[in-house]
């Protein structure tokens, strides 16, 4: 599945950040094959109508974070030894997800016990599904293969 990035202007997320986050998300979701190069800087800039320097900046940040790597002469590829998020960043993202879940639950009028039970049930379901399915070939979100 090809990488699709879409840019929103006027947002309080910078364009360069939007590219970084969307490429990260695509890699996490396994949407970019290991042997498939990312679009070149020029191609992505022209597709999105953004300054090529913005794409350069996004790609270098992704490379620094270990999400993608440069294969000289061939282009940018999804990193083989990938470390998508630092442990602090993983923690931050988890907290963010929990915050919005809990806030939403309370706003809909559920009590603390009901929210906890819903989370527990969902977690059990996912664990059961994972156990019955053959193990996935990769766990990019798992962090540390340093």
């Amino acid at each position: 599945m090809p990488l699709t990035v879409s840019i929103v202007t006027g947002s309080n997320v910078t364009i360069y950040r939007q590219i970084v986050e969307q490429v990260c998300a695509a890699v996490l979701a396994g949407k970019i094959a290991d042997d498939e190069p990312l679009p070149s800087v020029r191609a992505l800039a022209e597709e999105l109508d953004v300054n090529p320097n913005t794409v350069v900046r996004a790609y270098s940040e992704l490379a620094r974070e270990g999400v993608i790597e440069s294969h000289p002469g061939r282009g940018m590829f999804v990193s083989r030894r990938r470390q998508i998020y630092s442990s602090a960043e993983r923690r931050r993202r988890m907290d963010q997800a929990v915050n919005s879940l809990v806030a939403e639950g309370f706003m809909l009028g559920f009590g603390a016990d009901e929210i906890l039970e819903a989370v527990a049930a969902k977690t059990r379901d996912n664990a059961a599904a994972a156990a019955s399915a053959p193990p996935a070939s990769k766990h990019p979100a798992r962090g540390g293969t340093r």
Partner: protein
């Protein structure tokens, strides 16, 4: 430095690695133009780094076109000076001029010529004319080469004008409000052509625009002119990240202060009966203290989007009232009767 009585200090950022003046394609030092007794451009100092896409922002009448005319030697500065491609702008040589592509606001074309003839005619003036670039842009704007220029729509004329400006592959491209009067499709074609034009190594583009969304996409440097004075200049993300928004919520017994608080860097304040929203450039610890001292029950600090940040610079300075402010409606109704 600005000589302006507003409380806002100019937010002029260091352009970082571009500080070397040899890397500045345009280097303006105190550039000033008076029309009669009125300064139209007041002590403009800025550098346009080589290879950048540099957007020139400001409301109508803020001095953008006058600046561009001075840079191109079409108007002698009253004071100050500027170099363009290393040459004093008052004495640009034909060789230097040939390296500059300029598109004026008017998108002037020779109306009796066809699109194709316009290209052939213009090509005679440029030794480096690239017919493939001309054809690509004509094609991109879906122009019929046989169409008479005088019969083109506004957007099509801009396309032809742009093709003629880009075909000589100028080292420095100066576009004065190229998007003026264009429909959304033509605007997008323009944007694509600008990104296309950055293919050339070391190609520099200076363009003025009112379209903040387009500027956010393509510019890496911006300069903001407000009433003849440069307010902000630097890398786009740096300027944008320095603008912060503070949302203050007040308890009913502590209404927001009646007057706009004197806070350094304040760009804009917006008030409703129980809230005060402040947009501030480059807040520091003093700013934070001044804002906390206003007595709000909660203060939320957030980043702002690029267009909101620029509206802070470009909009009317001072206070605006929320349309939902009932008191304002009542007093308006009272004064009408």
């Amino acid at each position: 430095m600005s000589g302006s009585p507003t409380m806002l200090a100019p937010d002029l950022l260091d352009t970082g690695r571009w500080r070397d003046r040899r890397d500045a394609v345009i280097d303006a030092r105190g550039l000033t133009a008076y029309f009669g007794k009125r300064p139209v451009v007041d002590q403009l100092t800025m550098q346009v780094p080589r290879g950048s896409v540099f957007a020139f922002l400001g409301r109508n009448g803020s001095g953008k076109t006058t600046t561009i005319r001075m840079l191109l030697g079409m108007l002698p500065p009253t004071r100050g000076s500027a170099t363009v491609l290393g040459c004093d702008c008052r004495h640009l040589t034909p060789e230097i001029r040939a390296r500059i592509g300029y598109m004026s606001e008017s998108h002037a074309v020779y109306e009796w010529m066809t699109v194709k003839q316009s290209g052939e005619f213009a090509s005679k003036f440029y030794p480096r004319w690239n017919q493939r670039v001309f054809d690509a842009i004509v094609d991109h704007f879906r122009l019929d080469p046989r169409a008479r220029s005088g019969h083109l729509s506004r957007g099509e004329r801009a396309g032809l004008s742009l093709a003629i400006t880009l075909a000589p592959e100028p080292e420095l491209l100066i576009l004065d409000d190229p998007a003026i009067g264009l429909d959304p499709v033509a605007r997008r074609s323009l944007l694509e052509s600008m990104v296309f034009a950055t293919r050339g190594a070391d190609r520099t583009i200076l363009f003025s625009s009112h379209l903040l969304d387009d500027v956010e996409r393509v510019a890496d440097y911006i300069a903001v002119l407000d009433r003849s004075v440069l307010r902000a200049c630097g890398p786009i993300d740096a300027i944008r990240s320095r603008v912060r928004q503070f949302e203050l919520l007040f308890d009913p017994q502590h209404a927001p202060p009646r007057d706009v608080p004197a806070i350094r860097g304040l760009l804009h304040a917006r008030r409703s009966p129980s809230t005060l929203s402040l947009i501030v450039a480059a807040p520091d610890d003093d700013t934070q203290r001044a804002i906390r001292a206003l007595g709000a029950s909660t203060v939320d600090e957030t980043s702002v989007g690029f267009s909101d940040a620029m509206m802070g610079y470009l909009g009317e300075r001072g206070e605006s009232r929320s349309f939902l402010d009932a008191a304002a409606f009542e007093s308006a109704a009272g004064s009408n009767s």
